[in-house]
Amino acid sequence: MTTLTRQDLNFGQVVADILCEFLEVAIHLILYVREVYPSGIFQKRKKYNVPVQMSCHPELNQYIQDTLHCIKPLIEKNDAEKVVVVIMDKEHHPVERFVFEISQPPLLSISAETLLSHVEQLLRAFILKISVCDAVLNNNPPGCSFTVLVHTREAATRNMEKVQVIKDFPWIVADEQEVHMKEPRLIPLKSMTSDIVKMQLYVEERAQKT
């Protein structure tokens, strides 16, 4: 067992790589499971040794990719506290929020032989939970869209430069109405604790969706 700081071997980058890869899969799957997009644009793939659904719509894929590309530096520097996939109704009021709470330990205790396989197992459990979460959620109203919110540990405006990685993909501070939800129902889905990252996923669901 070795104890390392975040600077050693650039572990922040490793964690960001792993998390962004996971978030990409998770976002695609959430959009499929919650029927934000027609099922016809998704194809079955395999990730973490389990079947997942991935969009093959280039515009959507690019959007998700750009979003995660911008979030990555925040995760790398441990500045991102939560990444939230918000499903909104036609009026842009949130109906569901898939909240990924991320916490990274300042000191990393790593046993090299178990690291990746262990993390992969934990992430697989998240994916499996997402794929069946429709059983515990109510149907969304028609015409929903989504956005991704990033809650930062410090004031958002301080992190604006860090997240502005792609020139044509600007970021703004979210409106109050996009963030807060009336009488949300909290549905914990999964939590994990590993050597490199702690994460929990829960869904906030609006009581009255229609």
Binding site: P58, Q62, P142, G143, C144, F146, P170, V179
Partner: protein, 246 residues
């Protein structure tokens, strides 16, 4: 209130009464009103400082059945399921972008998540122009059943078996092109046509069915038989034009 002393100039005693009245009025207490509750114009709680960030650009909308959006369907049939690694979306996108132009410039009417899938009656208010489908079942036996004539065409033209080819169904091949289009959409959705996607060119009154060269002969036969097409249908590939007909 303590005593108030009024000083006045000598000789002005006549106006003393009015002076007193004025003084009394001045000494009346001010009318009071409760001050309004202070509402700060800046956020006060620490949580308010932490509104999250979001992309300014909204996510693409692919929900309305009336919208025609550009979709590239990427075929994964005949390929083993593989892990998507970091940037896998980019891979898919790249793979799509590298395909011939006719493949990348497809438009589709993606069905709304709330709309039911088309039934066999196919009474749909939406005039579909493109079909998108997931290839589930692939008829592999077709690779072995290329006719001698078609094999010759493939070798003479130097075609790659994974190259895309296009069958064109015109009004000469059928009475009602919309009816043929509906039947074809059903077949595509049920994955009866390997590697296929199709669109209808209403202004030309044509249906274009795209598929891999490998399956094109099988697809062509299927189109002729199942859709009961009359006359000949022609197969064309990018740059070369018509190369084969059935």
């Amino acid at each position: 209130m303590e005593d108030v002393i009024l000083h006045y100039q000598p000789g002005s005693a006549d106006g003393l009464s009015s002076l007193l009245q004025t003084t009394e009025r001045l000494l009346e207490p001010f009318t009071r009103r409760p001050p309004p509750v202070f509402k700060p114009w800046f956020p006060t709680s620490p949580g308010d400082h932490r509104l999250p960030l979001r992309p300014a650009k909204p996510a693409p909308r692919i929900t309305s059945a009336a919208d025609l959006l550009t979709v590239t369907t990427c075929q994964t049939e005949n390929k083993p399921q593989r892990d998507i690694s970091a940037g896998s979306a980019a891979e898919v996108y790249r793979a799509c972008a590298e395909s011939p132009p006719e493949k990348t410039e497809r438009e589709t009417t993606a069905p709304s998540p709330t709309t039911q899938p088309q039934t066999d009656t196919d009474v749909s208010p939406v005039r579909r122009s493109w079909s998108v489908f997931t290839q589930r079942r692939v008829l592999l036996q077709s690779s072995l059943s290329l006719s001698k004539r078609f094999r010759h065409v493939v070798s003479v033209q130097g075609l790659h078996l994974r190259q895309r080819a296009k069958w064109v169904i015109t009004e000469d091949n059928c009475r009602d092109i919309e009816k043929v289009w509906r039947s074809l959409s059903r077949s595509v959705r049920s994955s009866s046509l390997p590697t296929c996607n199709a669109n209808i060119q209403r202004e030309r009154a044509e249906i274009w069915v795209f598929c891999d060269v490998l399956y094109s002969e099988q697809v062509g036969r299927f189109l002729k038989d199942e859709l009961q097409l009359s006359g000949r249908i022609s197969l064309s590939v990018h740059k070369l034009g018509n190369i084969f007909s059935l």
